[in-house]
Amino acid sequence: MQTAIRNFSIIAHIDHGKSTLADRILEQTGAITLREQRDQILDDMDLERERGITIKAHAVRLEYQAEDGKLYHLHLIDTPGHVDFTYEVSRSLAACEGVLLVVDATQGVEAQTIANAYLAMENNLVILPVINKIDLPSADVEKVARQIKEVLGIDRAEAILASAKEGVGIKEILEAIIRRIPPPHGNPDKPLKALIFDSWFDNYQGAVVLTRVIDGRVGIGSKIRLMSTQKEFEVMDLGFLTPKKKPVQELTAGEVGYLIAGFRKVSDTKIGETITDALHPTSEPLPGYKEIKPMVFCGLYAVDSAQFEDLRDALEKLRLNDASFTYEPETSLALGFGFRCGFLGLLHMEIIQERLEREYSLNLISTAPTVIYKILTQQGEWLSIDNPAKLPDPSHIQRFEEPYIRAAILTREDYVGSLLALCQEKRGVQIELNYLDVDRVMLVYEIPLNEIIMDFYDRLKSVSKGYASLDYEHIGYRESDLVKVDLLLNGENVDALSFIVHKEKAYTRARLICEKLKEVIPRQMFEVAIQAAIGSKIIARETIGAMRKNVTAKCYGGDITRKRKLWEKQKEGKKRMKQVGKVEVPQEAFLALLKVKE
């Protein structure tokens, strides 16, 4: 039976046409109509559709009558398309035997193309390069084929030319999947070993997982065990997504489908987890499982402190669906009660914040994102600092470390100069500079993550006019000369505005932030002094002059109601402000750190 199965994924740089190709394949195999695709295949999350990025993985079982006359079952496993979700991608790929690597014929190989291709190689997958968008006038197939050969070592002859939009090359792709991607070769008679590569929360059924059975079989009523936690469950429902749910009695080695077993929360069903049979367990779990840890943190506060409980409930509910973010209560002198939340990356952070505001109607203040710093105290104790306000006094710090990443940047040659300058500014250390082609350059830098989460990506896009692409991986901690800068409004320390920065950049950054705060904090009825300080030493200062005149000249009988209604409307607007001491501070001020341009 396994010989009639092909498990594959589509990987690509953003906007290279992954979703369109997936749509065409679904159409060609008759899985669904076009209209249904919008409603079903692309995720239910509006955010995904708006941002054009797949956040959750999907798996669809398709039937395909190949030219050899046989009927094949294709399992198309969609993958998240952003560097924040690299681990999820790697687990989705672990459920496949091959991938379609889509490259835009007008853009060429980009950073994510390479990162994804390497992930596929690490998983020993067959890579079928698809050169897409060949119908566009600016398509340069030969050049792109050369790049693929140069960077990935895949031969020109293996590349399939396609235009997903026009439906060109889809048949060839389907045939190549059958001929070139090997069928799964697990042993159905061995003890069960199945990989969880995605899970989500369903209000009725609890956590639903997507799984790839590697060895053995699993049926309704089986007692299963999750190997990392040793928790046991009974399978209640399983089947394929076609994409509609199609229940079956059993999934066997090589097959991909959904499984429901009374998991109460998604944190029970971690991605990369191995499912085995509770009665006949396998001895070894599947390789590659990692506890994923949040890398980027920020404080989230309700603007209206009465919404604190609502925020807690919303976080709890979101976490049911997404086990990769964390939250714990924290208190800020300036902002009151809130939560310190951890995310996989910046996009992940934005998504969660947007969902909280949109789906739970919360009005939030978020503090600037920060990484986790490691501190070795004079007492020889290691501390992890996810909130700058919690940094111990400098005299207690023996060693200060920050996380680094290895960034791969692909760009057109014209922008190399500005990109080198940018990486330099961001404290990057150059590791490589390679020409992939006459005008295509790959830069590899090691850069502190804290610089990346500031505004690196926006800056990268702006200095390269959108032509440079970025991918990165975490490479651990390094010692660094860092200081904490505090911000004071009228002499009062606003803990939520404190930040950690490299010593050499402290003065510039402090000055820029004071300027930015001056811009975003509206004038008040009194003068507001903005100061930045390292310890007790003031290193930058700005003053917001007091508002001097705001008075209605004519105010008689008819004006009373009109004016009052106007103030009541303004009162609504004020709800987006936070009172710090007696200064009214708008939400955006807490993100001023992100908005400064050096």
């Binding site: 508002m547 005149k549 705001n550 009373i560 103030w567 303004q570 009162k571």
Partner: protein, 383 residues
């Protein structure tokens, strides 16, 4: 129930619309104006019988507009006579009429004065012809001077002159000249308004289109300071943000608005505060007339003013007066659920030198008065 009551009557016609004016007024239309007068009289007669005014005396009447003086003396006095017949009048009632230069002569003014109008408020705006032209006024400075003298001759001993300043391109010297001349004429009362650009006016439109810029904040404050200094030196006491009077001549009608006193407003777009409600008449003149003709009444909006809101209004509008309000009196009259928070805010304002606390009274400092809208916003926002 013997609290006095004020009456406002709105006359919505002018010869032409001034460029800054956002009041409810249109170009004079004789046939319609006759129907308007009759609608107004219908309302006066009707409200005169209302249980809400039974046993109460009118302490002030204010005929505003528009330009009430566009009507003939007979027409105006006809309305006033009906007021006398429909309502009880308090002794020493103040009866103000607004007039524009160019719409009055000695005969008309004499008739009006004899007919009972004892206070005249004249829209002069400036004594500089270039200012008047820019404002879109229908008269020259000379006509305004003459109108003032004529009013004096007709026997008006309580007169107000209205001015607007801080105009686009206006120079401090020009405004100073206007002030000097006003002082020289010696009215009992002066209103000096810093120009406000209102939406839906010619100025509003021109401003949107960038045809002029307004004097900046500092420059406006120089105009304010000059106005206050000159008028005070000349013996005019500033008793409200934009109002100045010789001792004993503050406008009692307008003081009512700032003292949370009750008033009945009749005529299109007029507002009332009566029996713990604020309500207004239909603004559209034709609609107002038709509605009154059909139903004897033309209410547009009506809303109850609870104790909490009344307290806030009393504070906010009372603080426009330079002598402020009696805080204890307000809180006794309109109990607040949490007066401590208010007290705390006032303490802060005292600290910031915006407010002066002289228990049981509070008032705004000169700087506080300049920020009255912000202060009001905070009083409304305080939950």
């Amino acid at each position: 129930m013997n609290r006095p009551l004020s009456l406002y009557l709105h006359f919505p016609y002018c010869w032409s619309k001034c460029h800054y004016c956002a009041f409810n007024s249109i170009r004079y239309d004789k046939p319609q104006s006759l129907r308007l007068l009759s609608a107004l009289k219908t309302e006066i007669a009707r409200y005169g019988r209302s249980p809400l005014v039974q046993g109460r005396r009118l302490s002030t009447i204010f005929m505003g507009g528009g330009t009430p003086s566009i009507f003939t003396a007979d027409q105006i006095l006809d309305v006033l006579d009906l007021c006398r017949a429909s309502f009880a009048w308090a002794d020493g009632i103040e009866i103000t009429m607004e007039a524009n230069p160019g719409t009055v002569d000695l005969k008309k003014l004499t008739a009006l004065r004899r007919g009972g109008i004892n206070r005249l408020s004249m829209g002069v705006q400036s004594f500089q012809d270039d200012d008047l032209e820019r404002l879109g006024r229908a008269h020259s400075a000379q006509v305004a001077r003459e109108a003032f003298r004529t009013a004096r001759e007709a026997g008006f001993k309580n007169m107000n002159l209205d001015f607007i300043y801080a105009l686009p391109e206006q120079r401090l010297e020009g405004w100073e000249k206007t002030l000097d001349e006003a002082i020289c004429l010696g009215p009992e009362h002066l209103s000096a308004y810093a120009l406000t650009i209102e939406e839906g006016t010619r100025f509003g439109e021109d401003y949107e289109n960038g045809l002029f810029v307004l004097p900046d904040e500092d420059w406006q404050i120089r105009f304010d300071d000059l106005t206050q200094a000159k008028l005070s030196r000349a013996g005019y006491m500033r008793y409200e943000v934009s109002n100045y009077a010789r001792p004993g001549y503050a406008c009692r009608h307008n003081l009512g608005y700032w003292s949370q006193r009750e008033y009945l407003g009749l005529g299109p777009g007029a507002h009332s505060y009566l029996a713990d409600r604020r309500f207004s008449k239909m603004e559209d003149i034709e609609a107002y007339i038709r509605e009154v003709e059909a139903r004897g009444e033309a209410i547009e909006e009506s809303e109850p003013i609870g104790s909490d809101l009344a307290a806030r209004e009393a504070l906010i509008f009372g603080l426009r007066k330079t002598d402020g309000v009696c805080l204890d009196g307000i809180l006794k009259r309109y109990p607040l659920s949490d007066p401590d928070r208010l007290q705390k805010m006032f303490e802060q304002w005292r600290w910031d030198e915006l407010m002066i606390l002289e228990p049981p009274r509070i008032r705004l400092s000169p700087r506080g008065l300049r920020l009255w809208d912000r202060i009001a916003e905070e009083i409304i926002a305080l939950s």
